[in-house]
C-alpha cells in the first residue's frame, strides 16, 4: 500500500468486485465492527444529538443518491411519454426514425441492436488485449518500463472522445478498407464478413475505435487487481516449479477474475454510451444487419448526437425515450455482472 497505485485502485473499482484477500464473507467488509466499541452510557446528550445529525446527514446523502437515480428514470420517462404517445408505429420494432414527420414514426430496434453489437464487438477485441496490457505492466515488463507504460495507458483514458473520433475517421476508416476487403473476399461465406461490395464507415470501424477507447479503462482496473495478488499465492506457484504462464494462470488470473469482470462491465458502459466518436465513424442508418464490414450501423448515443440539432418537440422526446432505453440496458448489464461477480466470489472462496 505504499505505492502511488494504491490510491488509484479505488478509482473505478467496485468495492465488492474485488474480494478482500482473506476475509471470507466480503459482504460488509468489517464495517460492523466500527459500531461496536461505543460506550453509549458515556455519551452526553448534546453530543449524541450531534452524532445523530451527522449520521442523518450521511444517511441522507446515501438516500439522495438513490433519489437521483430514481429521478433520472422518472424524468426520462416523463419527457418521453408525449413522444411515445405520438408515435404511430411500434417503438420496439420500427426500423425508422422520423419522430417529427407526419405521421410521427420512430423505433428503437435498429439503434439498440447497433449499440449492443458495437459494444460487444469492442469488448471481444479489447478485453483480451487489455488483460494482456495489464499483465505486461504488472508482471511481465521490467520495472523501468512498467511505470511509464502504466502512465501512458492512464493518460489515454482522458483523451477526449472527439479526438478518438477524428483519428478514427481520418486514419482508421480508410486503413480498414484493405483488411475488410480481404476478410470479405476470403471469409465472405461467414455472414458476419459478408458485404455488398462497399467498404468504409462500418460497425467494424466503430467497434475498433470503441475498443481502443476502452482498453485503457479495462487495463487500468485489471492491473490494479493483478498487482494486489497476495505474494504467497505467487510464491506458492513458483515453489512447485510453475512456468511464468502457469503462475499467472493459477495465481493471478483467478485472483483478478472478478476485478476483470467489473472492469469489463465498466468498459461496456463506456462503450455503449460513447457518443461523439461513434457518431463520427458510423454511417448512420436504421437497418438491422450482421454484415459488420459494410457501411451502416447506428447506435442510440450516436443517433442522439446526430438528431439533436434538428429535433422538434416530439423529436426531442423521442431522443429522450431512446436515452431511457440506453439507461435500462446499462441497468440490466450491471445487474447481470454483479450477479456473475457474486457467484464467482462464492465459488472462488
Amino acid at each position: 500500500m505504499d505505492e502511488p497505485e494504491s490510491a488509484k485502485v479505488s478509482m473505478a473499482r467496485s468495492s465488492e468486485a474485488v474480494p478482500s484477500p482473506a476475509s471470507q464473507p466480503p459482504k460488509t467488509n468489517g464495517t460492523q465492527s466500527k459500531d461496536m466499541p461505543q460506550a453509549k452510557d458515556l455519551d452526553s446528550r448534546p453530543r449524541r444529538r450531534a452524532d445523530a445529525v451527522f449520521r442523518m446527514l450521511a444517511q441522507g446523502s446515501g438516500v439522495a443518491l438513490l433519489v437521483i437515480m430514481a429521478a433520472i428514470a422518472a424524468f426520462l420517462i416523463l419527457q418521453a411519454i408525449p413522444a411515445l404517445n405520438a408515435d404511430t408505429t411500434n417503438f420496439f420494432t420500427t426500423l425508422n426514425w422520423a419522430p417529427d414527420g407526419t405521421p410521427s414514426s420512430f423505433g428503437i430496434a435498429a439503434l439498440a441492436f447497433g449499440s449492443l453489437l458495437t459494444s460487444l464487438l469492442a469488448l471481444v477485441m479489447s478485453v483480451p488485449v487489455a488483460v494482456g496490457v495489464a499483465l505486461a505492466i504488472s508482471h511481465y515488463s521490467p520495472r523501468w518500463l512498467a511505470g511509464p507504460l502504466a502512465y501512458v495507458v492512464d493518460l489515454l483514458a482522458a483523451v477526449p472522445s472527439v479526438v478518438f473520433g477524428l483519428w478514427g475517421l481520418i486514419y482508421l476508416v480508410p486503413g480498414l478498407i484493405g483488411p475488410s476487403n480481404f476478410l470479405s473476399t476470403y471469409f465472405g461465406f461467414i455472414p458476419l464478413f459478408e458485404t455488398n461490395g462497399t467498404y468504409g464507415k462500418s460497425i467494424f470501424a466503430a467497434s475498433v475505435v470503441l475498443a481502443v477507447m476502452i482498453i485503457p479503462i479495462i487495463a487500468a482496473i485489471s492491473r490494479e487487481v493483478f498487482v494486489q495478488t497476495p505474494r504467497d499465492h505467487i510464491e506458492a506457484a513458483w515453489a512447485i516449479g510453475a512456468t511464468k504462464w502457469e503462475m499467472v494462470r493459477t495465481a493471478i488470473l483467478p485472483y483478478g477474475r472478478s476485478g476483470v469482470v467489473s472492469a469489463t462491465v465498466l468498459g461496456f458502459g463506456r462503450a455503449i454510451g460513447e457518443t461523439i466518436a461513434v457518431a463520427l465513424v458510423l454511417s448512420a442508418n436504421y437497418e438491422i444487419t450482421l454484415h459488420i464490414l459494410q457501411p451502416g450501423g447506428n447506435t442510440i448515443a450516436a443517433n442522439i448526437a446526430n438528431r439533436y440539432g434538428e429535433a422538434g418537440n416530439i423529436g426531442r422526446g423521442a431522443l429522450i425515450a431512446s436515452g431511457l432505453v440506453l439507461f435500462i440496458i446499462t441497468l440490466i448489464v450491471n445487474f447481470g455482472a454483479r450477479t456473475i461477480v457474486r457467484r464467482g466470489e462464492r465459488e472462488g472462496a
Partner: protein, 370 residues
C-alpha cells in the same frame, strides 16, 4: 495533512488560474483595422444586446457581420450561437433568443403557431438572408473535366440504382470522358440538416420519377454512407475513390473536391458558379402571407444559367412585439445584413448574395419590424 509539496502543487494551480483570468480578453485578437471599411457606412449603431442561435450553415456569414457591426458599434453586443436550425427554432419559440437562423421556413401548423404565440403581437416571419449553393462533389480518379450529372442520374446514384461510374446513363451525358469501371460510393449527411433538405427538394422536383423520398432534412433513401456534418461528407468523398456527396460550396473549394454541373428541369446542365446560383434565386417567389418572405424556388425553370441546387437560410423574427430595448438593435443589425455592403462580403466565404429584387424586399421587411 496537506504537506508542503502538495501545497506547492495546489498553489501553482491556483496561481495559474489567476494568471489566466487576468490576462485574457474577450476578443479574437485580430489586427484591429476594420476588415470592411466600405460596409461601415451602412451601419447604424444602437446599444443593447442580441442573442441568436440556429443554422450552422450561415454561422460564418453571421460571424463576419457581427464582427463588422461591433467594430463600428463597440457599445452593443450580439451573439450568434450555432446548434442547428431545429435548436434555433426551439429556442426562439421558448423566448430564449431574439431571432433564430433556420435553413427552412417555419412549418405551417404547430411550429408556426408556437412561434406566433411567443411573439404575441404579430406572427413570426421568415426573412431570407444568406444563400448557399450546394455542390455535388465527387472523387473519380482519372477524370479531369467537370462531370455532367442529371437530376435523374443523381437520384439513381444516391438510391443505389446506378452503381458504377461507367454506367451507360452517366456516359451518355459525358461524351468524350473516359469513365472508369469504378464502384460508386455515395455519401450523405447522417445528422439532420438543411443541406439534405434542399438537395432532396431539388431531386424531388427535377427527378420526380426516380426520387420518391420527398424533401426531408433527414436522409431517408436506402444505401450509401452517412457522415456527420458537411465536413464528414466532404472528408468521406475526398478519401474514397469513387465517392460522391453533396455539401456547401465552401467545403468543396476548401478541400479541393471537383463538383458536377447538375441537370435542371429540362435536362440542361448548369455549372455551379455564384452568378448561376444567384440567377436561380432571383426566380424564387415570396410565398408567405403578409410580410413573411418564405421562398418558393422555381425548380421548373428552363434557364440553363440558373443553378437549381441551393439552400437559403432565413432569419426567423417576430414581425411585431419585439421588446423596445431590443428592437432598434435588431432592425439595425438585420438592416446591415441586408445592405449591399454586407451582402457583397458573402461570395468570398462560399455563399451567394441575395439578388437585388429580393434584397430590397428583405430590407423593407426588416424596417417594418415592430
Amino acid at each position: 495533512m496537506i504537506r508542503p509539496r502538495q501545497r506547492v502543487a495546489l498553489g501553482s494551480l491556483i496561481g495559474a488560474g489567476l494568471v489566466l483570468t487576468a490576462c485574457g480578453s474577450d476578443t479574437g485578437g485580430s489586427p484591429s483595422s476594420s476588415t470592411n471599411p466600405g460596409g461601415a457606412a451602412s451601419i447604424t449603431c444602437s446599444s443593447g444586446s442580441l442573442t441568436a442561435a440556429g443554422s450552422t450553415a450561415q454561422q460564418n456569414a453571421m460571424t463576419q457581420w457581427i464582427k463588422d457591426y461591433l467594430n463600428k458599434c463597440s457599445g452593443s453586443n450580439i451573439n450568434y450561437g450555432g446548434g442547428g436550425s431545429g435548436q434555433g427554432v426551439q429556442q426562439f419559440t421558448d423566448g430564449k433568443v431574439d431571432f433564430a437562423g433556420s435553413d427552412f421556413p417555419l412549418a405551417a401548423g404547430a411550429e408556426q403557431q408556437g412561434a406566433d404565440a411567443r411573439c404575441k403581437a404579430g406572427p413570426a416571419i421568415n426573412i431570407p438572408m444568406v444563400g448557399g449553393p450546394i455542390a455535388v462533389g465527387y472523387n473519380v480518379p482519372g477524370v479531369t473535366q467537370p462531370l455532367n450529372l442529371s437530376a435523374s442520374n443523381l437520384a439513381k446514384i444516391f438510391t443505389g440504382k446506378i452503381t458504377k461510374w461507367n454506367d451507360a446513363a452517366i456516359a451518355q451525358d459525358n461524351p468524350g470522358v473516359a469513365l472508369p469501371a469504378l464502384g460508386i460510393q455515395s455519401f450523405h449527411r447522417s445528422d439532420g440538416s438543411g443541406t439534405t433538405y434542399n438537395f432532396t427538394n431539388y431531386l424531388a422536383h427535377d427527378a420526380k420519377a426516380d426520387w420518391t423520398f420527398g424533401a426531408d432534412k433527414n436522409w431517408t433513401a436506402p444505401g450509401g454512407q452517412g457522415a456527420k456534418g458537411s465536413q464528414g461528407v466532404a472528408q468521406g468523398v475526398k478519401s474514397t475513390a469513387g465517392g460522391i456527396g453533396y455539401f456547401e460550396l465552401s467545403f468543396a473549394t476548401q478541400s479541393k473536391i471537383p463538383y458536377a454541373a447538375v441537370g435542371n428541369a429540362e435536362g440542361k446542365f448548369v455549372q455551379l458558379t455564384p452568378d448561376n446560383a444567384v440567377k436561380f434565386l432571383s426566380y424564387a417567389k415570396a410565398a408567405g402571407t403578409g410580410s413573411d418572405l418564405k421562398l418558393d424556388f422555381d425548380y421548373a425553370t428552363t434557364d440553363a444559367t440558373a443553378y437549381p441546387n441551393l439552400l437559403v437560410t432565413y432569419e426567423i423574427v417576430c414581425s411585431k412585439g419585439n421588446p423596445a430595448d431590443k428592437l432598434p438593435l435588431l432592425k439595425n443589425f438585420l438592416g446591415y445584413a441586408a445592405s449591399p455592403a454586407a451582402q457583397q462580403e458573402l461570395p468570398a466565404q462560399g455563399y451567394i448574395s441575395l439578388p437585388d429584387n429580393l434584397r430590397q424586399q428583405v430590407q423593407q421587411t426588416v424596417s417594418s419590424l415592430g
